[in-house]
């Protein structure tokens, strides 16, 4: 009697994952490479010129003042909204850390804005901020004792506060939820010991709580930072980038170039500029925040 030893195919595992890998390459890598190729052509609404155009579109990027302005607008919104969301989210998380009556209901209610589609949230805020029919001017009018006619989505001085307020309203609960989870996992014995030793709240926070929640907080900052960098929906619903191009962010500008002006190749070049910038920023942030460890 002879025993036949069946050796498992050592490559079988690769065959198993091959369809998934192929799918990922098809829907992820192929469009990326194709966009890169398109960015070296001169395809626009009028021409489908697929001949190699060299760095033409990339040179255009540096001459396009509106592009850099839109990038600046994006950074302004990010630089203001992100810290405010973080601080408010952290404060709210501290507030709800202790057990209190109705805590779960309040937490659920607070999270509601994050489950609304941003475009719906933007459209809703546009109605709320409408100077003729919106309740916000009406409520302000009650306090002022006269009709208030603030043009929230037109006035250059009001339009950024309006956008940032909407953004904070919708996404602070996201920060709050994540930070609440992180704070709940902080070892209370350490903070209690520090308190007994006479450490102030701030010292306790700085040297015990912050190091404990930092990995989670850093991830939250990173996610929200990236979200803010690609902010589109709320701006589109509220101002469409106006007045003029005053609130046009990089995403709004890219959309306008790609899908309204049909500057296909140039838009591909913008997309690769954004990818390059984000790669640098994210890599730097991950190292700086110690997330790579």
């Amino acid at each position: 009697m002879s025993a036949t030893v069946i050796r498992p195919d050592r490559n079988f595992k690769y065959w198993i994952i091959a369809p998934a890998v192929f799918l990922l390459l098809a829907v992820g890598l192929f469009p990326l490479i194709y966009s890169l190729i398109v960015s070296f052509m001169r395809i626009d609404m009028m021409d489908t010129d697929t001949s190699f155009a060299g760095l033409y579109n990339y040179k255009q990027l540096f001459r396009d003042a509106r592009l850099w302005q839109s990038l600046l607008h994006t950074l302004i919104i990010t630089a203001i909204a992100l810290p405010l969301e973080l601080i408010l989210g952290l404060a709210m998380a501290y507030l709800f850390l202790e057990k209190m009556p109705g805590r779960q209901i309040f937490v659920s209610l607070l999270v509601l804005p994050t489950i609304i589609s941003p475009i719906v949230a933007g459209a809703t805020w546009r109605l709320l901020l409408d100077n003729q029919y919106g309740p916000i001017n009406q409520i302000l009018g009650w306090f002022a004792g006269e009709r208030v006619n603030l043009l929230w989505t037109i006035s250059p001085t009001l339009v950024y506060p309006a956008i940032i307020f909407c953004e904070i309203w919708q996404w602070t609960p996201f920060m709050f939820l994540i930070l609440l989870a992180a704070l709940s996992n902080v070892d209370k014995s350490q903070t209690e010991a520090a308190e007994i030793d006479g450490a102030s709240f701030w010292r306790s926070f700085r040297y015990i709580v912050l190091p404990a929640i930092w990995p989670v907080m850093a991830i939250a900052i990173l996610i929200r930072g990236l979200d803010l960098f690609r902010i589109f929906d709320i701006i589109w619903a509220l101002t469409m980038g106006g007045p003029g191009t005053m609130t046009e962010t990089i995403s709004v500008y890219t959309y306008n170039q790609g899908f309204k002006q049909f500057e296909t190749s140039y838009t591909a070049a913008i997309a690769f500029l954004i990818i390059a910038m984000l790669t640098i920023i994210v890599t730097w942030a991950i190292r700086r925040m110690g997330l790579a460890k």
Partner: protein, 485 residues
């Protein structure tokens, strides 16, 4: 005679009401509509798609013409509703992808050079000849027929919507002796519907002061940039402005006229209702129908709804109830040459897999017999565009002042100004929209006009000066491009 109640039934019962007279008319003469129906029967059981502006406009094919076409030919009509802002994009995307998802199209006439140059539209001449439609096409009002139908000498769209700006004013206010006396005292002039923009500014400002106690304003306009862009184009040309230097193709929207128009527009906001800068179509409509403004300028549906025509229908329940029915007069906007703002042509997509059936559908829609029914649908926003529409006994009897209304539309069609239509029109229009937006934000009119002109020049340079010059010259030579001074 068809009453307003009958018209209501037309809308809700998918064209059942009125179909008797409709069918009779078709039977009486082998007109273009009947020809299209007869020929289309060979495609019975098939489905064609048509891109239509979302909202009220689309109720025409959804409630009336689509079901009627199915009943007559057995062809299903799939209505693809797209917002106006997305229509060009969707049509181009479909064309560029070669998907052929759309058979028939609604196209804004100013887009036609771009769509034709891209290859997205089908040349309709062979079909027009094959189905004997040329004669009926000639009965479209000349402004639309001569200016909005052809590109490079070929037919690419049937003008199908008589969009034109009309000035609506409160007859009762202008005829009120007390208001007339106060106006005379304040301005030294007799109160009259303004014929020039200078008169408009004086009249509007004075009426705002005189009517203050009644909580009324001299005038209100839609001021959101997409609408105001059309108003700027109209006013700029009525005041003598030209878009380009015809020789160099340098933009001249920053001329003295351009700066004056921008400056005046912003000054007017001071005596118009607070927040008018944010007004769109609906806000302006609401203010006028509720009696808050004495004058406004808008598209033809305002006139119908102000008279209360069709507003009892459920689909128009959002239209504020008119408090001014019977009190509205119709006139040409100041300058006398109204903008033929937007409008629609019916076209066939070059990527359609069912071009013949698509063509027959649009011929039937656009024909004298069918279009007369369609422009009377109170909810569908299609405005009279054929000579016969303006003189239709049925339409003239719709409300007491309908004859004045139709006369104003006909005058508008005769004197109207075409939207600028060159290569990549939307890029130029986008600059104008940005310009208006900056104007409301308080920036210096001269500076924003200069910036806009520079952007126009950059667009022209990119397209190619000679290439654009050829298209612009062709457009500028049309009868409705600039007023005859």
């Amino acid at each position: 005679m068809v009453t307003r109640r009958d018209v209501g039934k037309i809308g809700l019962a998918a064209g059942l009401a009125g179909s008797t007279s409709f069918a009779a008319r078709q039977a009486a003469a082998a007109d273009a509509a009947q020809t299209a129906v007869d020929a289309a029967k060979q495609f019975s059981g098939q489905t064609i798609s048509i891109v239509w502006e979302a909202g009220l406009q689309a109720l025409d094919p959804l409630n009336f013409s689509g079901p009627k076409w199915k009943e007559l030919t057995g062809i299903d009509v799939k209505v693809v509703e797209v917002s106006t802002a997305e229509m060009f994009t969707k049509i181009m995307q479909d064309y560029k992808s070669g998907a052929g998802a759309y058979d028939a199209l609604n196209v804004i006439p100013s887009w036609m050079p771009d769509l034709v140059n891209a290859g997205a539209l089908e040349d309709l001449d062979p079909y027009v000849d094959k189905y004997g439609y040329r004669e009926e096409l000639q009965k479209i009002a000349s402004t639309y027929r001569d200016n909005q139908m052809m590109v490079n000498g070929k037919i690419y769209g049937f003008p199908d919507d008589g969009d034109v700006f009309v000035m609506y004013f409160r007859k009762d206010i202008f005829a009120d002796p007390a208001v007339q006396a106060a106006f005379k005292e304040k301005t030294g002039k007799d109160l009259a519907v303004p014929a020039t923009w200078a008169d408009f500014d004086v009249t509007g400002a004075a009426l705002t002061e005189i009517l203050k106690d009644k909580n009324m304003y001299g005038a209100g306009f839609f001021r959101q940039p997409p609408y105001t862009m059309f108003m700027f184009q109209e006013r700029f040309r009525n005041e003598g402005g030209k878009f380009f230097d015809a020789d160099s193709m340098k933009a001249t929207i920053n001329s003295d006229v351009g700066v004056k128009v921008l400056t005046d527009m912003r000054e007017e906001n001071k005596w118009m209702p607070p927040g008018v800068e944010q007004w769109g179509f609906v806000e302006n409509l609401a203010a006028f129908l509720q009696g808050q403004t004495a004058m406004t300028i808008s598209w033809p549906p305002y006139g119908r709804w102000a008279a209360g025509y069709g507003t009892d229908q459920e689909v128009l329940s959002w239209v504020p109830k008119s408090t001014i029915a019977g009190k509205v007069g119709y006139a040409m906007p100041p300058g006398g040459h109204p903008e033929l703002a937007a409008g629609f042509c019916l076209s066939v997509a070059s990527t359609s897999k069912n071009k013949e059936a698509a063509y027959l559908f649009i011929q039937w829609l656009n024909s004298e017999a069918t279009s007369l029914q369609r422009v009377q649908l109170p909810y569908a926003l299609r405005d009279p565009f054929r000579d016969s529409h303006f003189t239709s006994a049925e339409y003239l009897a719709k409300w007491p002042d309908a004859k004045h209304y139709l006369a104003a539309l006909q005058a508008g069609a005769t004197n109207g100004l075409l939207d600028l239509s060159v290569l990549q029109t939307d890029k130029y229009e986008e600059v104008l929209r940005q310009m208006i937006s900056k104007l409301w934000a308080g920036e210096d009119p001269k500076a924003i006009a200069d910036a806009a002109a520079a952007e126009w020049d950059a667009i022209t340079d990119k397209i190619g000066v000679d290439k654009q010059k050829e298209v612009y010259s062709s457009w500028a030579s049309k009868s409705g491009a600039y007023p005859k001074m």
